[in-house]
């Protein structure tokens, strides 16, 4: 007793192609399937029909690698709260539903093909300063610097960002503030992050701007769709650190 669905999927051959929505009928979908498994079934059919399967990014399929991501019915990763696309299951959809599926849309995330986008801008933001400069072998004993448990826990919460880019896709400004702030906050809360704290905040914010991401206007869409629930106040932390350092 499967479900029957109508999918409207964004198809785009490559960056130069204009792209369009294409309608597919998918029948006998098990409610136990994940959203990506449902697309797998459709793709198997497309391959056998000699068509190009729908390209989409995915890898771990357990919600941690951050590779998957699509806008489902207008919401990044779909309507299920704190859930990546790969962990979204079909039981949350109605039989005979019409589902739209689109890629992340933001200028700094150009479409590569269909639902696949180029998120390398995120890597370049990390390159600008999202690290502690400590070559292998040079570290002191791990217990030489105690860290307050609360700080370690808060740093961890910020560090759980999976870099999927849903925050950017959801933001009306296409801002990467939540992503950038999560890393700045993670390292700012730890003693190991202090020596480079100022330069890191400035360099990462400037890179974020250089990539063409928009500014933050505290809309909060980012944290609403974030599969890891990165809190909005990390952005306040980023702004504080940036202003302090830029003085």
């Amino acid at each position: 007793m499967g479900m029957n669905l109508t999918l409207k999927v964004w198809r785009q051959k490559g960056p130069e192609d204009k792209g369009r929505m294409v309608t597919y009928r998918v029948e006998d979908v098990s409610p136990d399937m994940s959203f990506l498994e449902m697309l797998d079934v459709l793709n198997e059919r497309l391959i056998l029909e000699g068509d190009d399967p729908i390209a989409f990014d995915h890898d771990c399929r357990e919600g941690i690698c951050g590779m998957c991501g699509m806008v489902i019915n207008g919401v990044a990763h779909g309507e299920q709260v704190a859930t990546t696309t790969c962990q979204l299951h079909m039981r949350h959809f109605e039989d005979n539903a019409v589902i739209t599926v689109e890629p992340w849309r933001a200028e700094p995330f150009p479409v590569v093909k269909d639902l696949v986008v180029d998120r390398s801008a995120f890597d370049r933001i990390i390159q600008a300063g999202g690290f502690v400069s400590v070559p292998a072998g040079s570290a002191p004993d791990a217990h030489s610097v105690p860290v307050k448990k609360d700080d370690a826990d808060d740093a961890f919460d910020a560090a759980t960002c999976i870099g999927c880019g849903a925050c950017v896709a959801a933001c009306p400004n296409g801002s990467a503030s939540l992503f950038t702030a999560a890393k700045i906050t993670h390292l700012a809360l730890l003693p190991q992050g202090q020596p480079e704290r100022d330069s890191r905040a400035v360099a990462m914010v400037e890179q974020m701007d250089a990539e063409g991401f928009g500014g933050c206007t505290n809309t909060g869409e980012c944290t609403a769709v974030c599969p890891k629930g990165i809190p909005l106040d990390t952005i306040a932390q980023m702004n504080r650190d940036y202003l302090r350092a830029a003085k």
């Binding site: 771990c60 357990e62 859930t83 890597d123 791990a142």
Partner: protein, 645 residues
Amino acid sequence: MSTGYAGYTEGEPIRDTKAPDGPIEERWEKRKFSAKLVNPANKRKLNVIVVGTGLAGGSAAATLGELGYNVKSFCYQDTPRRAHSIAAQGGINAAKNYRGDGDSVYRLFYDTVKGGDFRARESNVYRLAQVSVNIIDQAVAQGVPFAREYGGLLDTRSFGGAQVSRTFYARGQTGQQLLLGAYQALERQIAAGTVKMHTRHEMLDLIVSDGRARGVIVRDMVTGEIERHLADAVVLASGGYGNVFFLSTNAKGCNTTAIWRAHRRGAMFANPCYTQIHPTCIPVSGDHQSKLTLMSESLRNDGRVWVPLKAGDDRPVSQIPEDERDYYLERIYPAFGNLVPRDIASRAAKNVCDEGRGVGPGGLGVYLDFADAIRRLGRDAVEKKYGNLFEMYERITGEDPYTQPMRIYPAVHYTMGGLWVDYDLQSTIPGLFVIGEANFSDHGANRLGASALMQGLSDGYFVLPTTIGDYLANGPYGEVDEEAVTEAEAEVRQKIEKLLTNNGTRTADSYHRELGKIMWEYCGMERTEESLRKALERIPELREEFWQNVKVSGEADELNQALERAGRVGDFFDLAELMCIDALHRTESCGGHFRAESQDADGEALRDDENFSYVAAWEYGEQGPILHKEDLDYEYVKMSQRSYK
């Protein structure tokens, strides 16, 4: 050479693993001192390729960049941060003895050799235990947010196979945090210009010139362009091959192509049959299933495992009275009960399901029941302990584990086998180094929990950067034979062409699924001579059909995920065959390799140390594989039989 009974021949044994001699605690120091150094000005002239960006590859590329080498790093994902190390949950072992509970380098060494069921190399394992303490220091200095206690010091927990508390962790996301540490170090080197990163690139062949590994052929997965990249040394850190079973806890993209192609070019493949099957995974829900999700083993501390007493009993749980339930682990293993080690719990689950007593779709599942724990401790206490796991379970299955038992089933999780390497982590092809899960290394026939992260980072941050220097000190290695490169390129193109023009009637995934079923059925948790022979009949037939009949749509010069998959499946077929040959030749049971013919009176795994205390290193041969044995000597840890009754 003698002819084996599974279509293989036996070649010369491997006599030298290049481990220094002398007292075991001095060997790594000795090697570090004897390894030649490369002066900083020369490092810039030396090129190193690293394939894979998980814990091993990411940390290695970053460290080689820091040292001043010219590094090229490759991954198939869109960014190096997504490698599957990211999904490791539990933790990372290190012999810090911060608890003062009697831990030491020697004890970690001892536990690992024993846990590996005496099929690992003592010298390597000892070094791993030594280096483990540096890993924690390095990770903390990078800002990895490990769990801490109120005094500000690092928290640890205990894990299977150890009586001390030596596992460092970052909630249930230790792999993620360690990988991000390595990723950030790597990005720092990319910014510094020492590492050139190639994302969305897949290695399709190894270039061997004058007997040395000199580069790779890769496909740009966006443009489809076939590229050649040359270097003075190549490092493979491309992970394990659990996806040969189709369903596993690996990421969808994990594959064997990089190491298999290297094997075809002359690198020996060691112990391919050693696979680890994890007992607590969420069962398959239907034919659409694309991967399996692990549920932390810690659940077995409070959950009771059972199946209905009668076969074919499909009543709902609430209607099965207590005396018609079989708590089989408690019944068979009264001393350890639900806490028997991974391999034993997995096999017991398979046995009850084979008897027709499994639960859920297809009868492939057993209950893990928390009703008693909730009665005893209260729902709140259970929620505090396992809340996030219960939530994950409900998300995937749609069932509430507070009101009905979880269903679990074993799944392929890790592969101990891999390319053979010596003490320097160098394969049998000079200049080809293999690190992390991709090598066969340190876990013997069974890996202990929280040891994979340790090995990946040990190899990448500390061991390889030293040992590869000794090889590179004799470089640069000059011109690469153009013929070797064009030949490798041509082979890659031919294969792609073949796949795209085949125009058959089945998809690559459908063949992969069928291959996986064969492997799971005949070369899975329990292997017999009969089952393995069946597999060795079926695999070549199916492979033949695959190459005749697979259908791949799309073009070569575009992003083509159907093509990517088909290429990987092609290599899985060949690997599967070697796994079965290895499993058939090893008539003993050891660690994750259980041969039904080799068990004691209680049905437990029975090793045959007299005949099988060796590493089986397989050389590729056109006429079938050639077995080279590396004898294992135990000077320090006394061999013994495991028992959990």
